[in-house]
């Protein structure tokens, strides 16, 4: 029953996603006309029109993000700091034993991840880098992706880049950025949508009452009120894929890393907000 009821909404959504111009578009109104064939890919968002979805949030949610004592992600940051200083693994070393004060050594690091790993000849995201360090330097078991510990460490590192611009200027990342762009623009799932249909073509409009964001990963890992917890960019991407009724990639898969690399390139120069709060 539930499944059948969902099918017409696919067409309703396709109608709703027709591009609107001028003030009507800003009101998030829905066009009744249009067909599936009206979905065509727009160009990249001009650099000066890019917006963090922070700007579309309510005053209350903004206040929550801006005040560290009200931002629940601070709880993860503090846990991450404790993990940073705790020795782990057979080597009996803490992150801090090699890297020292994170406020110095990790400043700006999260703003340039995923970064190219010359040894593996592939981009590695921040979670992946933490786990490589754990396995190779600390001789400890890798932390499970999306585990509380890994999110805490990632949030702590990302916090050190808050306010700094996202960097994406390593030429070795170019193939991964291109692969990510292909994935971003590729139709998939039962709704036959690409990421770009919402986040390049229809940002600022409404989907089921919510503002469609441009989809810039400026605040990850972030505290999402809906999750009642902190989650990674990959968890958010999985969310979107489930919404498109596509089969999600596995956490840590090359597809997700390529998408992350592309999204960071797409958001290059935008300030980091990590750990952000989102509804």
């Amino acid at each position: 029953m539930k499944r059948a009821a969902l099918v017409p909404s696919a067409f309703a959504f396709a109608r709703a996603t027709r591009r609107l111009a001028g003030p009507v578009r800003r009101l998030g109104a829905v066009a009744a006309a249009g067909t599936l064939s009206s979905l065509s890919l727009a160009a990249d968002i001009p650099l000066n029109e890019r917006r963090s979805s922070y700007e579309a949030m309510s005053a209350a949610t903004k206040a929550m993000q801006d005040d560290d004592s009200a931002n629940p992600a601070t709880l993860w940051v503090l846990d991450g700091e404790a993990l940073w200083r705790a020795s782990a693994g057979a080597a009996g070393r803490a992150c801090a034993d090699c890297h020292g004060e994170a406020s110095q050594s990790m400043r700006g690091v999260a703003a340039r991840y995923p970064a190219y790993d010359a040894k593996r000849q592939t981009p590695v995201d921040l979670e992946g880098r933490i786990n490589i360090c754990r396995v190779e330097q600390q001789q400890a078991a890798a932390l499970r992706l999306e585990s509380k510990e890994l999110l805490a460490l990632t949030a702590y590192l990302a916090r050190q880049s808050r306010g700094l611009p996202i960097e994406s200027n390593d030429n070795r990342l170019a193939p991964s950025i291109e692969a990510g762009r292909q994935l971003f623009q590729r139709r998939q799932g039962q709704l036959n949508l690409a990421c770009a249909h919402c986040h390049d073509d229809h940002w600022g409009e409404k989907l089921a009452g919510n503002a469609v964001p441009q989809g810039h990963p400026t605040g990850y890992p972030l505290y999402r009120l809906e999750w009642q917890g902190v989650g990674s960019l990959q968890r958010r991407l999985r969310n979107c894929m489930i919404g498109m009724r596509a089969e999600s990639y596995a956490f840590g898969s090359p597809e997700f890393i390529a998408l992350e690399t592309y999204l960071m390139w797409r958001a290059r120069g935008m300030p980091m907000e990590s750990p952000a709060v989102r509804p």
Binding site: S69, A70, D79, A82, Q228
Partner: protein, 106 residues
């Protein structure tokens, strides 16, 4: 890794109305959810929150399953004298957490 965060102005003027913000990490499992195998997940929430100022209760709250995870409670009091603000959270399964903050009234 239970943690609480308290924010309060450390040096208020005498007679000033001060805002106290408290945030504590807690799952606040409602008891209404089921696991992927269909088993009921038992309720695990904070049920009471009490704040005292030099031993005198100034604020308390009862919490219920509809309260979101990581409860954030803010309230106001009048800074009368220097001393200690103490916060106590208690809940299901013997949960108890407390935190203290010293303030110096000028």
């Amino acid at each position: 890794m239970a943690r609480a965060l308290i924010k309060v102005s450390p040096n208020p003027r005498r007679g000033e109305v001060i805002e106290i913000k408290t945030l504590i990490s807690h799952e606040m499992e409602t008891g209404f959810r089921h696991s992927t195998t269909g088993a009921a997940i038992p309720r695990d929430i904070i049920t009471t929150f009490v704040a005292t100022y030099n031993g005198e209760e100034i604020f308390s709250a009862q919490l219920f399953p509809a309260i979101a995870a990581n409860p954030f409670i803010t309230f106001y009091t009048i800074a009368k004298e220097s001393g200690t603000l103490e916060f106590r959270w208690t809940g299901d399964n013997g949960y108890a957490a407390s935190e203290q903050v010293k303030i110096a009234v000028e």
